[in-house]
Structure formats: C-alpha cells, structure tokens
C-alpha cells in the first residue's frame, strides 16, 4: 500500500496512559526505539489534561486506571481529540473491549502482549489517521482492486459483481485497513439502527463476500475475524 512519503519523516507523538510503571517503561523504551516521541501519563486526570495540550498522533490507554473508569476516559478523550486510541485490557473481558471500541477507541491489545503486536497496531492506526479522509480513489490490496467511486471490484483482472450490501461491507472495512469495526458499528452502517442485534445477517454477508473475494476464512487474505468483537481488513 502506498503511504504518503511526507508523513513518514514527521516524528509522531504518542501518549501512553498506564499506571503500571513496568509496562510504562517497556512501552516507552520500545516506542522511542521506533523513533516515536513518547509522553507518559499515570492517571486519567493527568491524561485528560495532557491530551488537549499535546496534540498527540496516537494514544495508548490502559482500561484499568485507578482513578477513573476506562470507558469514561475514552469518551472524554474522544471529545478532545481525533487521535486514534489503542486500548490495553486484560483477557476474558470481550464485552469491555467491544464497549471501548463502540465508545470511540480504535483498537485494542490484550495483556499480556508482545511488543510486535502493539507496534503493528500503532503503525496501522497512524497510517489510517494520516490518510483520512480517504480520497475517492482506486484502492489496491494484493490482487484486489476496488474503485470506490464506480463501485467496481476486480480480483486479478476479473471483474467481480458485489451486491449493494456486500460492497458497503467491503468499503467499510477496506477504507480503514487494520482498524477493528465492531459488529454493532457494521450493522448500524450497513442495515441501520434497528438491526444492531442481528449479528447473523452480518455473519452471512461476510461469508458471501469472502466467497466472492475467494478469501479462505481459515487463512484470510483480506477480512480478518476478531472473535466476539468484529472484523478488520488485513493491513
């Protein structure tokens, strides 16, 4: 995928909000090693004060802060900044992750995590953020080509016919590769407010789209399932 060369050289500012000193430390060391400019906040209060003044490009937020509920923090941050938010949360709380994403977080990483997993998310989100809003243009991913204006889709050189809803789904996903879209977000976008609980519509639509894109759900090239949460386009 082509990235804007100009952006590659601007040093990105990342705000880390985490109360555990060890995690703060390894995040800072690793992110600085990747030439990001890192700021640290220990409490939600500090973070809210920071995010306005800092104009950061990305926020990494631990959901389990001592002074405030993580979901509240996301909502407050979202009012102050459009910077992508990556949430750090412990395993076995899928509901919490979905709620965080629905409140405005852009992705999550489950603790404990390896640094490469986090770095991949950071890179993807910064890239999406830089390119937004995506110009109406032709998108190439692997052998897939999508013309977002004429709604034409090609796999290699073969034109593929997608139904209106299949194209809407593909467009939602491919517009922000790497970003998770929750079931609710997709259902609302494609079917509307009243269908937000009808996840089986979405499952079936994804199945059809994958079939047409020749995408093996077992080894997906394009659409990745995030179990219990939603889907993301491969980045």
């Amino acid at each position: 995928m082509c990235t804007d060369l100009k952006n590659e050289h601007v040093i990105k500012k990342i705000l880390i909000i985490e109360d555990e000193p060890q995690i703060r430390q390894f995040l800072r060391i690793s992110l600085e090693a990747q030439t990001y400019d890192v700021s640290l906040a220990v409490t939600a209060k500090e973070a809210i004060a920071f995010s306005e003044s800092l104009h950061c490009d990305l926020i990494i937020l631990d959901l389990g802060l001592p002074d405030r509920d993580g979901q509240d923090v996301i909502r407050i941050l979202r009012k102050q900044t459009q910077a992508p938010i990556i949430v750090l949360s412990v395993r076995a709380s899928e509901d919490e992750k979905v709620r965080a994403l629905d409140s405005g977080a852009n992705d999550y990483v489950t603790k404990p995590f390896g640094i490469s997993e986090l770095m991949a998310r950071v890179r993807a989100l910064i890239r999406i953020h830089d390119n937004q809003p995506r110009p109406h243009a032709i998108i190439h991913v692997d052998n897939l080509t999508v013309n977002t204006q004429t709604r034409e889709v090609w796999l290699d050189d073969h034109s593929i016919h997608l139904s209106r809803k299949e194209f809407a789904l593909l467009y939602e996903l491919i517009a922000t590769p790497g970003r998770i879209l929750t079931h609710q977000q997709l259902l609302k976008q494609i079917w509307g407010e009243h269908f937000m609980t009808e996840t089986h519509y979405l499952r079936i639509l994804v199945g059809h789209l994958r079939q047409k894109l020749n995408d093996d759900p077992m080894q997906p090239k394009f659409i990745i399932t995030v179990q219990g949460v939603g889907y993301r386009f491969k980045f």
């Binding site: 395993r91 076995a92 899928e94 509901d95 404990p112 390896g114 139904s163 209106r164 809803k165 079931h183 079917w191 269908f195 009808e198 996840t199 089986h200 519509y201 499952r203 079936i204 639509l205 994804v206 199945g207 059809h208 759900p217 077992m218 080894q219 997906p220 399932t225 179990q227 219990g228």
Partner: protein, 494 residues
C-alpha cells in the same frame, strides 16, 4: 373444594323447615286427591314416607316438626270429624299415636345415618388429603417447597386466617406479610420455647427439627378439636420432611466440602509445580543475562531471552487455564451466544496455536455450506485451543494433525485426530477429570496441568454438546466433538 374441618351440614335449619313444610303440603294435596280411592289409614303411609325423607335430608328438628305437621294435617283434613282437631274413632287415635311414635324413631334413625355417612365421607376425604399431603412432603426437594405445600394444605383445611412464620436473619418473617396483632416479642418467645404457647390467644404450632424451631403456624381464632388435630398432623408431617431435607443438605454439604478440599489441594500442587517451573526458567535466564551479559555470545543472549518469552507465555496459559477452571468450578459462566462461523473459530484457534503447530502437518477439511452456529465463540475457541494444543504436544515432529468439520442431521461434528501414543481405554473417561494427566513412558512428552481437557469438556457441555475420545485407526486418538445445530434465520441481504 369444601373446607375439611368444618362439619358439613346437609341443609341449613331454616331451609330444613321450609323443605319439611313444602313436602308435607305436597303430600297433603296428593292424599286429598287419593282419598276417594284408598283408606285414609293407608294414606298415612305417604306421610310416613315424607317424614323419613325429611329425616334423611335434614336434621332432627325439621323431622319432629314434619311429624307434628303431618299429625295436625291428617287430623284436621282426613279424620272425622273433618276440619277439626277432634277425633271421633278410637282406632284413629291409636293410629295417630303409633304414627307419631314410629315417625320419631325412623326420623331419628335416618338422621343419625345421614350424619354417620357424612362423617365417614369426611374422614375418607381427610385421609385422602393427609395422604396426598404426606406424599408431597416426601417428594419435596427443599424447605421452601415444604413450607409452601404446608401453607396450601392449611389454607384448604382451615376457614380461619392463619400465619406462617419463618425466621430470616434473626427477624420473624410473616406470610401473609402483615404481622398478626399479638406482639412480635411474644411470638419470639414462643419461637425460642414452644412450651410457652399458652401465653397467646389462639393456636400456635411449632415445626421443630433437632430442637430448633424452623417455622411457626399461628391461628389467631380458636379452633375446634378436630381442626387443631388436623393442623397438628400436617405440621408433624412437615417437620419430618424438613428434618429429612436438612439431613440431605448436610450430606451434600459435606460431600461438596470434601470435593472442594480435594480441588484445593490439587490446585495448590498445580500452582506450586506448574507455575513455579516456568518462573524458575524466567528468573534463571533473566538473572544470567543481567550478570554475565558481556561474557555471553549474541546467540546465547538471544537464547536466554527466548526462554524468558516462551516460559512467560507458558505461565500465561497456565494462569488462563486456572482462571477458566475456577470460573467453571463456581458455575459462573454465562453463555454470551452469537451467530458464529465455525471456520472463523478454527482460524483464530490456529492463529493462537501457530507456534505450537509449527512442527506438525495440519490437514483441515470443512464440509461445504456449513451453517453458522449459535454459540459463545470465545468458549468454543478456547475448547478447541486446549484440544489442538494437546494434540500438538503428543504428536511427534512432522506428525499429522487432522481437523475435520462435518454436518449431521442434528449436530455439527468436529474431529481432531493426532498421531500421538493414543489413550488407553481405562483412561478415556478420566482424561476429562480435573488435574488428571496421562503419564507416558517416554518422559520426553511434555505433560500439561491436567486442566485443558476438563475445561474443554466444560465449555462444550455448556453448549449442550459433547466430547469423546475415539481411537485413531492410523494410531493416536480422535477427539470427537458434537455441537447442537440451530436453525438459522436468514435476513435481508440486499
């Protein structure tokens, strides 16, 4: 249903007298019509029949009244001189005296018989009630049900108001909830010591087991002896049932306690062994690195760091297993069902196990057009992770692991086959027990905590599915999982 303990009076007295008057008037009319045809002394028999009928239907009073009425009517209308109460013929006097005498005796007999029949009917009904009640008591599964049944039985048997009193956290709880007029402290005293029940107006019966009051029945209005006896019988039966339930609960509690004890000791040994082993490697590798960093080759340093990472991940898996298991042990798992594509679940399972599966050949076959299933995706994923992780652990390097998904008429079947050493028949059931770990002769095989399969079984069972072990014809085992199918409702796609 008629109340059991009120004496069933056939007809109310006023109605009895009315019936007597009506009957006698009717008979008089008939007698008047028949007078030209029969002797008036024979017609007296009609009146006799009427008196027997009244006696059988009503009480003694109306019967005597009917006799007197008959006598007067007969005397007035049918004996000479007519339309006076005088009697001309002597034999008429004798007939009438005899008539009064006989009618009084038959009347009395008939009414006694009626009472006896009513009583035996009542007794039979009462026995039926007691029998039904005692049957309910013996089958009642818990104390609440016993008290509920008792309350219903008393309600049916007693026309007067009553209270069922229980104790909840040192407070008396009344059913119905408005407390009765006598002071609660008086009832408290009776609760503690039922001999004091004379202190209160009305009747109090205590349900006691093992010298402890479990409930009180309080009837404010006075009861007949019969009612009080019935109340006592019901209460005794209920107290017996409570005693039985208490005993059963005690047994269950002690069984659970010993199970918990076993689990706790197994958990402790698991924590001390399975958590400490990876921790030792982590501490050892990290401290070596810190102490001797300059003296170590870059390759060795990398090896030590890899050990730290691998062992930490192993630790994480153990902890996850322990958490899952305690959740299942406490029955606190709520299924968060959603429509899920089984292929998605397999994909994320394999992604999570990508390192463990590195040295195996993986063959996956999923039947076409597998419908989406209605499950808690993460739980099914965890179940598969544990099973496939096991398969990977027992399969030798370059061995095969096959995963196949098929549809039957009622279920979705997932088979996971490995080429490991297999599982002996006597161990096939045990492997799903908590902390049971198959020990193999070759100590090379890494054994797990004995939690993985127990957790998988729990997670599949929570979905009304099942796992069983089958021998693999080409060596090793097949884990055969069945999940129930759910009809999919197709929605608007366009």
């Amino acid at each position: 249903m008629t109340p059991l303990l009120t004496v069933t009076k056939a007809i109310s007295p006023i109605k009895g007298y009315l019936l007597a008057t009506l009957t006698m008037t009717g008979i008089s009319l008939v007698t008047a019509l028949l007078t030209p045809l029969f002797l008036h002394t024979s017609l007296l028999m009609l009146f006799m029949a009427g008196i027997v009928f009244i006696s059988a239907k009503t009480a003694l009073g109306p019967a005597i009244y009917a006799s007197a009425l008959s006598f007067t009517i007969f005397n007035f209308f049918f004996t000479e001189p007519y339309y006076t109460l005088d009697i001309t013929h002597r034999h008429d006097v004798a007939t009438l005296v005899l008539f009064i005498f006989v009618s009084l005796i038959t009347g009395n007999l008939a009414s006694k018989m009626r009472l006896a029949i009513a009583e035996s009917k009542q007794a039979l009904e009462r026995q039926h009630r007691f029998f039904a009640f005692s049957q309910k008591m013996t089958s009642a599964m818990n104390a609440a049900l016993v008290l509920d049944t008792l309350q219903q039985a008393i309600q049916h048997s007693l026309s007067s108001a009553f209270y069922l009193i229980e104790k909840n956290q040192q407070e008396l709880v009344f059913t119905p909830s408005t407390p009765p007029s006598p002071s609660i402290s008086l009832l408290e005293t009776i609760w503690e010591n039922p001999e004091n029940s004379e202190l209160i107006d009305g009747e109090v019966i205590a349900l006691r087991t093992e010298n402890k009051t479990r409930a009180l029945i309080y009837v404010p209005s006075p009861l007949t002896e019969e009612q009080s006896a019935a109340l006592q019988t019901f209460s005794n039966l209920a107290a017996l049932a409570l005693q039985r339930i208490l005993l059963a609960e005690d047994l269950e509690a002690s069984r659970r306690l010993s199970e918990t004890e076993q689990l706790r000791s197994a958990l402790l040994s698991s924590v001390s062994h399975d958590l400490r082993t990876p921790l030792s490697s982590i501490i050892g590798s990290a401290s070596s690195l810190l102490e001797y960093q300059e003296k170590l080759t870059a390759d060795d340093q990398k090896q030590l760091l890899l050990t730290v990472l691998d062992e930490s991940q192993r630790l994480d898996r153990h902890i996850q297993n322990l958490l899952d298991m305690t959740r299942f042990g406490q029955g606190k798992v709520t299924l968060n069902r959603d429509w899920v594509d089984i292929r998605d679940i397999i994909a994320s399972t394999l992604y999570r196990l990508r390192d463990a599966l590195d040295s195996c050949h993986l063959n996956i076959s999923v039947q076409d057009n597998i419908p989406i299933i209605w499950v808690h995706g993460l739980l099914i994923e965890q179940a598969l992770v544990n099973i496939i992780d096991n398969a990977a652990r027992v399969t030798p390097a370059d061995g095969d692991i096959d995963i196949s998904v098929k549809l039957t008429t009622t279920s979705l079947d997932i088979d996971i086959s490995d080429n490991g050493p297999g599982i002996a028949d006597h161990e096939k059931v045990k492997i799903f027990d908590m902390f049971y770990s198959v020990t193999h002769d070759d100590s090379e095989t890494k054994t797990g905590t004995g939690l993985g399969l127990a957790i998988s079984k729990g997670m599949i069972a929570a979905h009304s599915g099942n796992i069983e072990v089958i021998d693999n014809s080409s060596g090793g085992t097949i884990m055969h999982i069945t999940l129930p199918k759910h009809p999919v409702v197709y929605g608007p796609q366009e």
